[in-house]
Each structure stands twice: as C-alpha cells, then as structure tokens.
C-alpha cells in the first residue's frame, strides 16, 4: 500500500494532463478513451464486517487503459487481494493472492449525441493461479445537463480449477448476476456528488438462486485537469430474496456489511 501511495504521488507531480472523466467508483459509463490515449488508475477497495467474525478484505488494482480508436478500449490490471479474518477468539489469519485481468470495451452509442449511451464490456481474470473469472457487462448511460445516470447489468462466471493427480479439475462454479444503478449531479467541472446502488444475486449450479442483496451509498468525485479522485461508501441494506441458504435480513458470510472504494486516475 505504501508503495502505491508513493508511486501515486510521484506520478501526480510529473503529469500535467487530464484523465478520463470517470464519475463513479463502481458503475461503469460508456466513455472510451480516444485513440492513442493512455490512462493509469489506482484502486483500493476495503470490504469489512462478517457476522460473528472479524473480517477485512483489501483489494488493490493498478489499471492501464488504452484507447484503440473507433470507440474501442482495452485495459490491463494487476490485482492484489488480501483477506484478514479471525479464526478463533483471538487468532487471525491473513491470506494474500495476486491476479491479472484484461478488459475490452466498445461504445455503441453516445449518452449526449444519442438517446441512450450503450457500451458492451467484457473482462477475463486469473486469480491466485487457480481461479478464472469472466465478466460481461451491458452499460447504459444518459447525460441530461448536469445530471448523469448510469446502469450496468453484469454477468459473471467464476470457476475454480485444481490439479488432482496430474489432471486439471474444476469443482465449483458461480454465476453472480449484478445490477448497478447510479446517479451523479455534476455541480461544476471539478466536482460531482451522487449515489450508487448495487444489487447482487448469487446463482449457483447446485442451489439455484441463493440471495439477492441490495447495497447503496454516496459517491463523490473530484477532478482537475490532471487527475481525478472518486470515493464511495457502500453499506449493505439487506437481502430481498431470502432462501433456506440465506434466510437472514442480511447476508454476512459471503458478503460484507460495508464496502469502501477509492479510485485515483491520471492520464499519461
């Protein structure tokens, strides 16, 4: 973390151009970088609060985005995942994993020039050497004056692999389905304030639809010519689809009580 801060500060002080106008911490917009533009983003996400257990996960990502022209964009991420949790009354364990992701995004229409901005997005990741994730998103957004609205439909496929007796075995797979809805009021060129809503649905092969959890919280966005900073706090509101597997008002074993994300972007 310390190193990330140092790199961030160093790059900040050297760069004098503007970063892509991303507005939300979680919800994607249809914008793509123009041809030849390169952006650097640093992400930090903290997830905390499991029931009956100390739990704090920290996900860090460094992302490099490239504008390819004709409304295409690609990006590469290096990811670090750390989880710290209690295993007994006074013992905690920390696990560390690293990962790599690659995303592709194409913008089909524009939120100002067209009735609706539409983009398609897909990302593949490897995590810790034994997990493969595929994520596809439909992104919609609309700009009306100073108001920005965005919606994402996200379909994920997570598969874990294992070497067993020299053969590659795949045990569990998960298919979370997520919907994000976001609004921001861009008060001026430098500042925006809004909120993000997230609806997470767990759909497993064996157990079917297990839960549907709502999160929601405020997002603020500061930007200048050279950089942007976005922060979001996202507490869990509750489980709106209770099942035998997830009977509670909240889901606090696989999901967290709250999530906080800070995102810093600069352009090269």
């Amino acid at each position: 973390m310390k190193r990330i801060v140092i790199i961030t500060v160093a790059v900040f002080s050297f760069l004098l151009s503007h970063a892509q106008d991303r507005n939300f911490a979680r919800t994607y917009q249809t914008n793509v970088l123009s041809k030849g533009a390169i952006d650097l983003e640093f992400w930090h996400t903290s997830r905390f609060g499991h029931s009956g257990q100390y739990f704090h996960a920290q996900d860090q990502r460094i992302e490099v985005e490239f504008g390819l022209g004709k409304n295409w964009q690609t990006a590469f991420y290096f990811n670090r995942y750390q989880e710290r949790y209690s295993t007994s009354l006074n013992g905690t364990t920390t696990s560390n994993e690293i990962g790599f992701s690659n995303e592709w995004k194409v913008k089909l229409s524009d939120p100002v020039a067209n009735k609706l901005g539409v983009a398609l997005y897909s990302e593949w990741s490897i995590k810790g050497g034994d997990e493969l994730e595929l994520e596809t998103k439909l992104i919609l957004d609309k700009v009306i004056g100073k108001n920005l609205f965005a919606f994402n439909g996200v379909y994920e496929l997570e598969k874990e692999f294992e070497w067993v007796n020299g053969r590659l075995n795949s045990d569990g797979s998960e298919m979370p389905l997520e919907f994000d809805l976001a609004y921001m009021y861009n008060a001026n060129k430098k500042f925006g304030i809004g909120f993000e809503l997230r609806n997470h649905n767990k759909i497993g092969k064996v157990n079917g639809w297990e839960h549907s959890v709502l999160f929601g919280g405020p997002t603020i966005n500061f930007r200048s010519n050279r950089w942007f900073v976005i922060a979001n706090y996202l507490p869990q509101w509750g489980n709106v689809y209770k099942t035998d597997i997830a009977p509670g008002n909240k889901v606090l074993d696989e999901l967290e009580r709250a999530e906080a994300r800070i995102l810093v972007g600069i352009s090269l």
């Binding site: 151009s17 503007h18 970063a19 892509q20 106008d21 914008n31 793509v32 970088l33 123009s34 041809k35 030849g36 533009a37 504008g67 022209g69 004709k70 409304n71 913008k107 089909l108 229409s109 524009d110 939120p111 100002v112 020039a113 067209n114 009735k115 609706l116 901005g117 539409v118 439909l138 919609l140 700009v143 920005l148 352009s267």
Partner: protein, 103 residues
C-alpha cells in the same frame, strides 16, 4: 433467455438506431451553410464522426450549440491538442461541423 435477448436487442437499438440529434441532416443544411458557406452534408457528417470519436474520451460531448463560433474558437486550440488530432483535413472538418451547428 429469448426474452432477455429481445430486451437487450431493444436497448441496443434505442442507443444505436435512433438517429442522433447531433448528426447533421438534409433539413439542417441551409442553416449550417449560413454559418459555414459551402459546407456539404457529407463533410458535416465526417466532422460529426470525428467529433464523436475524438472528443468524448475525457468528458461527455458538449452540445455544439452550447457555444457560438467565437466560443468554439476559444476552446478548440487547447482541445484539438488534447485530442491529438494532427491531420489538417480532419481538424478542418471537425471545426466546420462545430461551427455549422453552433449557437
């Protein structure tokens, strides 16, 4: 599944198939030519395409009629640099489009 695809198809069509309100059309040509004499529909459309592809990377597009010609002349030098546009022909087409659709 079929239903989902149908809905997706509808959404994407709303985005893509609706003719953009910023896209130059036949009807606007006389008004555009009053601001930029001699501009052809084809040239204006080329400028619009360049605008869409090059000017929405860092911020959302600004409506061309949010600025007058002199307003555009003030912001364009900096923004053309930011967009790394270098071809004289492209720059001219983009400028002509914005001027033609200006306030």
């Amino acid at each position: 599944m079929k239903k989902v695809l149908l809905i997706l198809n509808c959404i994407i069509s709303i985005g893509c198939a609706t003719v953009s309100n910023l896209k130059p059309n036949e009807k606007q040509l006389p008004i555009m030519q009053r601001k930029v004499p001699g501009i052809s529909l084809e040239e204006a459309r080329q400028g619009f395409k360049l605008y869409k592809f090059n000017c929405a990377g860092c911020h959302n597009l600004h409506k061309p009629d949010a600025y007058s010609i002199s307003g555009w002349e003030k912001v364009l030098p900096e923004m053309l640099g930011k967009a790394k546009l270098s071809s004289e022909k492209d720059i001219q087409a983009l400028k002509n489009y914005l001027f033609a659709k200006s306030k």
